[in-house]
Protein backbone atom coordinates (compact mmCIF):
# COMPACT_ATOMS: atom_id res chain seq x y z
CA UNK A 1 0.00 0.00 0.00
CA UNK A 2 2.80 2.33 0.90
CA UNK A 3 4.41 1.38 -2.34
CA UNK A 4 1.26 2.27 -4.23
CA UNK A 5 1.00 5.65 -2.63
CA UNK A 6 4.66 6.29 -3.23
CA UNK A 7 4.42 5.31 -6.84
CA UNK A 8 1.40 7.53 -7.34
CA UNK A 9 3.24 10.40 -5.73
CA UNK A 10 6.30 9.81 -7.85
CA UNK A 11 4.18 9.60 -10.97
CA UNK A 12 2.51 12.88 -10.15
CA UNK A 13 5.95 14.29 -9.50
CA UNK A 14 7.17 13.10 -12.86
CA UNK A 15 4.23 14.70 -14.63
CA UNK A 16 4.75 17.96 -12.76
CA UNK A 17 8.42 17.91 -13.65
CA UNK A 18 7.50 17.22 -17.25
CA UNK A 19 5.41 20.39 -17.31
CA UNK A 20 8.23 22.30 -15.67
CA UNK A 21 10.63 20.93 -18.26
CA UNK A 22 8.38 21.99 -21.06
CA UNK A 23 7.20 25.35 -19.82
CA UNK A 24 9.97 26.81 -17.69
CA UNK A 25 11.57 29.75 -19.42
CA UNK A 26 15.02 28.98 -18.09
CA UNK A 27 16.52 26.17 -20.10
CA UNK A 28 18.83 25.10 -17.27
CA UNK A 29 15.88 24.55 -14.99
CA UNK A 30 14.06 22.67 -17.72
CA UNK A 31 17.03 20.37 -18.20
CA UNK A 32 17.29 19.70 -14.50
CA UNK A 33 13.58 18.98 -14.41
CA UNK A 34 14.00 16.38 -17.11
CA UNK A 35 16.88 14.90 -15.14
CA UNK A 36 14.58 14.66 -12.12
CA UNK A 37 12.05 12.78 -14.21
CA UNK A 38 14.71 10.20 -14.96
CA UNK A 39 15.67 10.05 -11.32
CA UNK A 40 12.05 9.50 -10.31
CA UNK A 41 11.75 6.89 -13.00
CA UNK A 42 14.73 5.02 -11.62
CA UNK A 43 13.02 4.92 -8.25
CA UNK A 44 9.98 3.45 -9.97
CA UNK A 45 12.22 0.82 -11.56
CA UNK A 46 13.48 -0.16 -8.15
CA UNK A 47 9.90 -0.74 -7.06
CA UNK A 48 9.29 -2.74 -10.20
CA UNK A 49 12.11 -5.14 -9.39
CA UNK A 50 14.42 -3.82 -12.05
CA UNK A 51 17.62 -2.75 -10.30
CA UNK A 52 19.67 -2.96 -13.47
CA UNK A 53 17.43 -0.54 -15.24
CA UNK A 54 17.33 1.68 -12.19
CA UNK A 55 21.08 2.02 -12.05
CA UNK A 56 21.30 2.64 -15.75
CA UNK A 57 18.57 5.22 -15.79
CA UNK A 58 20.08 7.01 -12.84
CA UNK A 59 23.61 7.06 -14.18
CA UNK A 60 22.87 7.61 -17.85
CA UNK A 61 19.43 9.15 -17.95
CA UNK A 62 19.79 11.59 -15.14
CA UNK A 63 23.52 12.23 -14.80
CA UNK A 64 25.10 11.95 -18.21
CA UNK A 65 22.21 13.21 -20.27
CA UNK A 66 21.93 16.26 -18.08
CA UNK A 67 25.67 16.75 -18.29
CA UNK A 68 25.56 16.68 -22.06
CA UNK A 69 22.67 19.11 -22.06
CA UNK A 70 24.65 21.44 -19.86
CA UNK A 71 27.72 21.29 -22.02
CA UNK A 72 25.68 22.27 -25.01
CA UNK A 73 23.73 24.97 -23.19
CA UNK A 74 26.93 26.37 -21.84
CA UNK A 75 28.34 26.50 -25.30
CA UNK A 76 25.28 28.18 -26.67
CA UNK A 77 25.39 30.79 -23.93
CA UNK A 78 29.02 31.51 -24.73
CA UNK A 79 28.34 31.95 -28.39
CA UNK A 80 26.06 34.90 -27.89
CA UNK A 81 25.14 36.59 -31.13
CA UNK A 82 26.41 39.91 -29.79
CA UNK A 83 29.95 38.68 -29.42
Amino acid sequence: MIQTILIILISVGMLLMAFVAIYHKNLQVAVIASGIISLFASVVYLFLAAPDVAITEASIGSVLTVAIFFYVLNKIRHEDPEK
Binding site: D52, I55, L64, Y71
Partner: protein, 234 residues
Protein backbone atom coordinates in the same frame (compact mmCIF):
# COMPACT_ATOMS: atom_id res chain seq x y z
CA UNK B 1 -4.04 32.75 -33.77
CA UNK B 2 -1.73 31.02 -31.40
CA UNK B 3 -4.64 29.95 -29.25
CA UNK B 4 -6.36 28.51 -32.29
CA UNK B 5 -3.26 26.61 -33.26
CA UNK B 6 -2.76 25.30 -29.78
CA UNK B 7 -6.34 24.17 -29.51
CA UNK B 8 -6.02 22.28 -32.78
CA UNK B 9 -2.91 20.64 -31.43
CA UNK B 10 -4.78 19.81 -28.25
CA UNK B 11 -7.53 18.14 -30.21
CA UNK B 12 -4.90 16.15 -32.06
CA UNK B 13 -3.35 15.12 -28.80
CA UNK B 14 -6.77 14.23 -27.49
CA UNK B 15 -7.18 11.75 -30.28
CA UNK B 16 -3.71 10.45 -29.57
CA UNK B 17 -4.69 9.92 -25.95
CA UNK B 18 -7.74 8.06 -27.08
CA UNK B 19 -5.62 5.81 -29.26
CA UNK B 20 -3.18 5.11 -26.46
CA UNK B 21 -6.07 4.50 -24.09
CA UNK B 22 -7.23 1.75 -26.40
CA UNK B 23 -3.79 0.26 -26.09
CA UNK B 24 -4.04 0.54 -22.32
CA UNK B 25 -7.50 -1.05 -22.23
CA UNK B 26 -6.04 -4.32 -23.38
CA UNK B 27 -3.19 -4.18 -20.96
CA UNK B 28 -3.44 -6.77 -18.27
CA UNK B 29 -0.88 -7.46 -15.64
CA UNK B 30 0.94 -10.73 -15.84
CA UNK B 31 1.13 -13.36 -13.22
CA UNK B 32 3.40 -15.91 -14.87
CA UNK B 33 6.44 -15.80 -17.03
CA UNK B 34 5.84 -16.49 -20.67
CA UNK B 35 7.74 -19.18 -22.50
CA UNK B 36 10.64 -16.99 -23.45
CA UNK B 37 11.16 -15.64 -19.98
CA UNK B 38 10.66 -19.09 -18.46
CA UNK B 39 13.47 -20.36 -20.64
CA UNK B 40 15.75 -17.62 -19.39
CA UNK B 41 14.82 -18.32 -15.82
CA UNK B 42 15.20 -22.07 -16.04
CA UNK B 43 17.97 -22.58 -18.55
CA UNK B 44 19.69 -19.22 -18.34
CA UNK B 45 21.76 -19.76 -15.22
CA UNK B 46 23.06 -23.08 -16.49
CA UNK B 47 23.61 -22.09 -20.08
CA UNK B 48 25.36 -18.85 -19.43
CA UNK B 49 26.48 -19.25 -15.89
CA UNK B 50 25.42 -15.73 -15.02
CA UNK B 51 23.46 -15.07 -11.89
CA UNK B 52 22.12 -11.80 -13.17
CA UNK B 53 19.66 -12.93 -15.79
CA UNK B 54 19.34 -9.48 -17.27
CA UNK B 55 23.04 -9.63 -17.94
CA UNK B 56 22.76 -13.03 -19.54
CA UNK B 57 20.02 -11.73 -21.81
CA UNK B 58 21.83 -8.51 -22.63
CA UNK B 59 25.24 -9.99 -23.26
CA UNK B 60 24.48 -13.40 -24.64
CA UNK B 61 20.95 -14.07 -25.82
CA UNK B 62 20.47 -10.62 -27.23
CA UNK B 63 24.13 -9.93 -27.78
CA UNK B 64 23.51 -8.69 -31.28
CA UNK B 65 21.29 -5.91 -29.93
CA UNK B 66 24.01 -4.93 -27.54
CA UNK B 67 26.53 -4.89 -30.32
CA UNK B 68 24.20 -2.59 -32.21
CA UNK B 69 23.74 -0.28 -29.32
CA UNK B 70 27.43 -0.05 -28.60
CA UNK B 71 27.80 0.78 -32.26
CA UNK B 72 25.30 3.58 -31.85
CA UNK B 73 27.40 5.26 -29.20
CA UNK B 74 30.48 4.70 -31.30
CA UNK B 75 28.72 6.31 -34.25
CA UNK B 76 27.46 9.22 -32.23
CA UNK B 77 30.88 10.03 -30.86
CA UNK B 78 32.35 9.90 -34.34
CA UNK B 79 29.56 12.00 -35.81
CA UNK B 80 29.76 14.65 -33.13
CA UNK B 81 33.44 15.01 -33.85
CA UNK B 82 32.75 15.45 -37.52
CA UNK B 83 29.86 17.83 -37.05
CA UNK B 84 31.60 20.13 -34.65
CA UNK B 85 34.89 20.32 -36.41
CA UNK B 86 35.69 23.99 -36.56
CA UNK B 87 36.33 25.67 -39.81
CA UNK B 88 40.09 25.81 -39.63
CA UNK B 89 40.26 22.33 -38.23
CA UNK B 90 42.10 23.17 -35.02
CA UNK B 91 40.54 22.50 -31.71
CA UNK B 92 41.23 24.09 -28.43
CA UNK B 93 40.37 22.66 -25.10
CA UNK B 94 38.77 24.58 -22.34
CA UNK B 95 41.20 26.62 -20.32
CA UNK B 96 39.26 27.20 -17.24
CA UNK B 97 41.50 27.64 -14.27
CA UNK B 98 40.71 25.11 -11.62
CA UNK B 99 41.10 25.73 -7.99
CA UNK B 100 43.63 23.82 -5.98
CA UNK B 101 40.84 22.31 -3.98
CA UNK B 102 39.15 20.92 -7.03
CA UNK B 103 42.33 19.33 -8.27
CA UNK B 104 43.02 17.69 -4.97
CA UNK B 105 39.47 16.50 -4.66
CA UNK B 106 39.53 15.16 -8.14
CA UNK B 107 42.79 13.35 -7.55
CA UNK B 108 41.17 11.66 -4.60
CA UNK B 109 37.81 11.02 -6.13
CA UNK B 110 38.65 9.97 -9.64
CA UNK B 111 40.45 6.72 -8.82
CA UNK B 112 37.75 5.80 -6.35
CA UNK B 113 34.84 6.40 -8.64
CA UNK B 114 36.65 4.74 -11.51
CA UNK B 115 37.14 1.72 -9.33
CA UNK B 116 33.45 1.64 -8.57
CA UNK B 117 32.73 1.77 -12.25
CA UNK B 118 35.11 -1.06 -12.98
CA UNK B 119 33.69 -3.07 -10.12
CA UNK B 120 30.21 -2.64 -11.51
CA UNK B 121 30.98 -3.94 -14.93
CA UNK B 122 33.27 -6.70 -13.82
CA UNK B 123 30.53 -7.98 -11.55
CA UNK B 124 27.84 -7.44 -14.13
CA UNK B 125 26.98 -11.12 -14.30
CA UNK B 126 26.49 -11.37 -10.57
CA UNK B 127 25.01 -8.17 -9.29
CA UNK B 128 22.80 -5.46 -10.72
CA UNK B 129 24.66 -3.26 -13.10
CA UNK B 130 27.10 -4.02 -15.81
CA UNK B 131 28.85 -2.55 -18.76
CA UNK B 132 26.51 0.33 -19.46
CA UNK B 133 26.25 1.42 -15.88
CA UNK B 134 29.94 0.99 -15.26
CA UNK B 135 30.74 2.77 -18.47
CA UNK B 136 28.49 5.63 -17.52
CA UNK B 137 30.26 5.94 -14.19
CA UNK B 138 33.62 5.95 -15.92
CA UNK B 139 32.34 8.71 -18.13
CA UNK B 140 31.24 10.66 -15.06
CA UNK B 141 34.76 10.47 -13.70
CA UNK B 142 35.90 11.79 -16.99
CA UNK B 143 33.66 14.79 -16.52
CA UNK B 144 35.25 15.32 -13.15
CA UNK B 145 38.61 15.11 -14.78
CA UNK B 146 37.67 17.72 -17.31
CA UNK B 147 36.32 20.06 -14.67
CA UNK B 148 39.24 19.72 -12.35
CA UNK B 149 42.26 19.56 -14.57
CA UNK B 150 42.80 22.25 -17.09
CA UNK B 151 44.74 21.64 -20.28
CA UNK B 152 44.53 17.98 -19.69
CA UNK B 153 46.26 15.94 -22.22
CA UNK B 154 43.98 13.01 -21.77
CA UNK B 155 43.03 13.48 -25.29
CA UNK B 156 41.36 11.64 -27.99
CA UNK B 157 44.14 9.19 -28.46
CA UNK B 158 43.57 7.15 -25.33
CA UNK B 159 39.83 7.28 -25.70
CA UNK B 160 39.89 6.36 -29.35
CA UNK B 161 42.26 3.53 -28.65
CA UNK B 162 40.08 2.16 -25.88
CA UNK B 163 36.99 2.58 -27.97
CA UNK B 164 38.35 0.87 -31.04
CA UNK B 165 40.21 -1.91 -29.27
CA UNK B 166 37.32 -2.86 -27.06
CA UNK B 167 34.97 -2.74 -30.04
CA UNK B 168 37.28 -4.92 -32.08
CA UNK B 169 37.66 -7.39 -29.24
CA UNK B 170 33.88 -7.51 -28.88
CA UNK B 171 33.52 -8.45 -32.53
CA UNK B 172 36.41 -10.91 -32.30
CA UNK B 173 34.87 -12.65 -29.32
CA UNK B 174 31.66 -12.78 -31.28
CA UNK B 175 33.48 -14.48 -34.13
CA UNK B 176 35.15 -16.86 -31.72
CA UNK B 177 31.65 -17.85 -30.76
CA UNK B 178 31.01 -18.92 -34.32
CA UNK B 179 34.20 -20.89 -34.47
CA UNK B 180 34.34 -22.45 -31.03
CA UNK B 181 30.74 -22.55 -29.88
CA UNK B 182 27.21 -22.52 -31.16
CA UNK B 183 27.11 -19.16 -32.83
CA UNK B 184 27.97 -15.49 -32.95
CA UNK B 185 28.48 -14.03 -29.46
CA UNK B 186 28.02 -17.36 -27.76
CA UNK B 187 29.57 -17.00 -24.34
CA UNK B 188 30.45 -20.66 -23.99
CA UNK B 189 33.81 -20.15 -25.63
CA UNK B 190 35.06 -20.19 -22.05
CA UNK B 191 33.87 -22.52 -19.36
CA UNK B 192 30.93 -21.33 -17.35
CA UNK B 193 32.86 -21.82 -14.13
CA UNK B 194 31.39 -21.96 -10.67
CA UNK B 195 27.98 -20.41 -10.57
CA UNK B 196 28.05 -17.15 -8.66
CA UNK B 197 31.80 -16.55 -8.67
CA UNK B 198 33.60 -13.71 -10.35
CA UNK B 199 35.36 -15.83 -12.90
CA UNK B 200 32.34 -17.59 -14.23
CA UNK B 201 29.71 -17.26 -16.88
CA UNK B 202 32.02 -17.87 -19.80
CA UNK B 203 32.83 -14.81 -21.79
CA UNK B 204 30.20 -12.65 -20.16
CA UNK B 205 32.52 -10.82 -17.76
CA UNK B 206 34.98 -10.20 -20.54
CA UNK B 207 32.35 -8.96 -22.93
CA UNK B 208 30.68 -6.85 -20.31
CA UNK B 209 34.01 -5.34 -19.32
CA UNK B 210 34.71 -4.55 -22.93
CA UNK B 211 31.27 -3.01 -23.19
CA UNK B 212 31.99 -1.04 -20.05
CA UNK B 213 35.26 0.27 -21.38
CA UNK B 214 33.74 1.02 -24.72
CA UNK B 215 30.68 2.77 -23.39
CA UNK B 216 32.83 4.72 -20.99
CA UNK B 217 35.22 5.74 -23.72
CA UNK B 218 32.43 6.64 -26.09
CA UNK B 219 30.47 8.71 -23.63
CA UNK B 220 33.72 10.42 -22.63
CA UNK B 221 34.50 11.15 -26.24
CA UNK B 222 31.08 12.71 -26.68
CA UNK B 223 31.67 14.91 -23.67
CA UNK B 224 35.19 15.71 -24.76
CA UNK B 225 34.04 16.75 -28.20
CA UNK B 226 31.41 19.02 -26.73
CA UNK B 227 33.90 20.41 -24.26
CA UNK B 228 36.55 21.09 -26.86
CA UNK B 229 34.13 22.98 -28.89
CA UNK B 230 33.48 25.10 -25.93
CA UNK B 231 37.03 26.30 -25.98
CA UNK B 232 36.77 27.74 -29.41
CA UNK B 233 35.89 31.29 -28.56
CA UNK B 234 37.26 31.52 -25.05
Amino acid sequence: MKILKNSILLVLLGFMTWMLFNLYKDYDSRDTLNDTARYYAEKGPDETGAANLVTSVVVTYRGLDTLGEVTILFLVSAIIGLLLKTENGTRKTAMRASSEFMITAAKLLIPMISLIGVYIFVNGHLTPGGGFQGGAILASTFILLLISISRNKIGHKVLELTEALSGLSFVLIGILGVILAAGFLDNKILGTGTFGSLLSAGAIPIIYSLIGLKVGAELSTIILELNQVQGKED
